[in-house]
Amino acid sequence: MLKGVKIASVLAAAALVLTGCSKSDNGAAATTAPATSAAPAVKVGMAYDQDGKGDGSFNDAAYAGLSKAQADLGVEIKEVNSGSSATDASRQELLTLLATDGYNPVIAVGFAYSTALAATAAQFPDTTFAIVDSVVDAPNVGSLVFAAEQGSYLVGVIAASASKTGHIGFIGGMEIDLIKAFEAGFDQGAKSVNPSIKIDSKYMGAAGDNTAWNVPDKAKAASAAMIGKGADVIYAAAGGSGLGMFQAIKEAGAGHWAIGVDSDQYNVPSLADYKDFILTSMLKRVDVAVYDVIKGVVDGAPLTGVQNFDLAKDGVGYSSSNPAVADFAAAADAAAAAIKDGTVTVATK
């Protein structure tokens, strides 16, 4: 029996070590010295939520801003991931680690860091923190929020203009206010074009159900059902589950359009197979926001407080890399102008 206990503890230890690896192993590899800089370089610590880069969407957008800062401003960077079994305590450890090592600014990517960041920011008043997609009220924290509803309004306009059946769909990831704002803007935009349009909506999981972002097979079933009932344009704000929507649209064939989210998914390599069906993407310029935060610290004027990246600041928008979207660009641009000058207010619920 004793032997058995030994084996079990070795197994458990191995599991812990491996889980630990996935959290931060790339951090060491990604630490690179700036090419040319006489003054001590600004060290940027970036904490992604869950599994970090490679989602072809949100986290990759944050990384784009970081790598732009690395190239343009010569900053030193370190990246860590929280891992999918992260807790507030483990996230706080990551942030504390970055702050202790002298990383400034420390940027947390994702609303899940809210609690952890509030606690860490209080401990390190001299470090500038930033959080994407959430508001943390502290003097040294920049809260980078996006008017996703405004961008979604624009793709809603495009969806309703492109739809021939007068029936469109929305696939959401986790059913939380953050994602509901995407749906609300999309609905309002679509209805501004066609008040009687039918909009199906489905979320992959309830609040707190982290699997909601990782179930492309379920998103495919939901999308296929919408298509079966006549929907011909679908917009997904569902992280990794969004892939299932692209698959369903592709299987439905020509005449059906997918609308991507966060990054310009038309140009994402892992989605190359679906490219011809991706009409446009709602762009959430996390890259712009991340770059601005780093630039603020480099220039000695850190961005703190609530920074709302809306249409006026080019924080959100739609992508026009698929030439097919040109037919609807006039309508979308008119809507964008109306939002910017305040004629149209987009609801978030």
Binding site: I7, A15, L18, T19, K202
Partner: protein, 404 residues
């Protein structure tokens, strides 16, 4: 009056279709028995069913397999890793092999070294989660189209079968909306509409398992290792060998379930199994450690999940509540007639509450459907515990030569 097994099965099927039919008529919701729903439900049932079947193999030989989820994760990873390089079929094989390695590890830990089976299984779940994440970063980050958390797309696909000559007339009949006949047609049409070859393979594996474990000498010996390994040992059965085989086969099957998920989604992605290994474990208990019941449970859970997902105006969940109410009331009638009064009254009350909920509320949160598998399993455990019969020595450590 003696009822044969076949008659019993047919009457259960008939009553089931009648319940669906009544619900469809009352809620005027054609989704409940349409070809698309059934074909999708079968698709969702495959990974859950394979996990359940994997559980049967392991537990029938007396090894509790909490590590099913981990073995499925290994399967998803194997399929993603081999699938993007050499195609879907290679992915399938790699997924099965990776899952089998997980099974072998559980066998080594729990059979050879006598580690507590629950602890060993939990360790495998942790190990699989950590290992696949680590390997994903290592192998997929720089692969074209891959990322830290997902593999590049799997090339090629497993074919699906649609027999239009049979499916089309059945679908047409379903669309007529006749009571019972249309629903039967709808349910049948689902079997001939976009049926994945893997679904067929899964069905064959269920039949093959039932035959191997209950109709052959091999199966008898394997099950004896789960019922009374000490007696089997004294009669010359190589208990340890059988346990090894059973747990490894369990891993292979769970790996197949994982591989199916990756191939159906065309990628491997961290966290893709989303707890389906555990739902598989629940179906195994629901199915009384037997293939028939486990398969039925998997289809039921797949059906519930499908209805939730294809539901655009929240009609389906309401339909599910009514189906649940009718089933519960029917069970109540049986219980009351067979003189199990207190349980029967409990069921009657539950049924009444569900009917009340159906009549009063017009809109149910979709989460109701998400928790349905767990609630159903709890209900089965609470009420049918006298009839549930896990293998007698399930979970017991075995040392050759010991007696009990």
């Amino acid at each position: 009056m003696n009822i044969t097994k076949q008659q019993k099965l047919i009457s259960i099927l008939g009553v089931g279709i009648a319940i669906l039919s009544i619900t469809r008529t009352i809620t005027s919701n054609g989704d409940l028995t349409s070809a698309v729903t059934i074909s999708q439900a079968l698709g969702f049932a495959v990974p859950i069913g394979l996990a359940g079947l994997a559980g049967i193999w392991s537990e029938r030989a007396g090894v509790v397999n909490i590590g099913l989820e981990g073995m499925m994760i290994l399967g998803t990873f194997g399929a993603g890793w081999a699938g993007y390089q050499w195609g879907a079929w290679a992915g399938l094989v790699a997924g099965v092999v990776f899952g089998g390695l997980g099974g072998l590890l559980l066998a080594v830990a729990s059979v050879s070294f006598g580690v507590d089976q629950i602890i060993a299984g939990t360790a495998i779940n942790l190990l699989a989660t950590g290992l696949t994440k680590f390997l994903a970063i290592l192998l997929f980050t720089d692969a074209p189209g891959g990322g830290q958390a997902q593999s590049p797309p799997i090339t090629g696909e497993i074919p699906t079968i649609t027999i239009n000559a049979i499916a089309d007339p059945l679908i047409a009949l379903h669309d007529k909306g006749l009571f019972f006949i249309s629903d039967t047609a709808g349910l049948l049409s689902g079997l001939f509409f976009q049926l994945s070859l893997l679904t067929v393979i899964t069905a064959l594996l269920f039949i093959g398992t039932a035959w191997l474990l209950w109709r052959t000498r091999f199966g008898l010996r394997l099950r004896s290792a789960g019922e009374n390994p000490w007696a089997a040992d004294s009669l010359g059965v190589k208990v340890t060998t059988y346990k090894y085989m059973a747990v490894t086969i369990s891993g292979l099957l769970a790996g197949l379930g994982g591989a199916y998920l990756s191939i159906a989604s065309t990628i491997y992605r961290n966290g893709q199994t989303a707890g389906r290994g555990f739902i598989g474990l629940a179906t195994m208990i629901f199915g009384n450690w037997r293939p028939g019941g486990t398969g039925a449970g998997a289809i039921m859970f797949g059906y519930i999940d499908t209805l939730r997902l294809i539901d655009s105006d929240n009609k389906n969940v309401r339909g599910l509540i009514l189906i649940g109410a009718l089933v519960v009331l029917l069970i109540a009638v049986f219980l009351l007639r067979s003189a199990r009064r207190s349980t029967g009254i409990g069921f009657a009350l539950l049924g009444a509450v569900l009917v009340g909920a159906f009549l009063v509320a017009s809109n149910f949160p979709p989460e109701v459907a998400q928790v349905a598998p767990y609630i159903t399993t709890l209900l089965v455990l609470a009420t049918a515990s006298q009839n549930l019969r896990p293998p007698a020595a399930d979970g017991a450590p075995f040392r050759k030569g010991e007696s009990h």
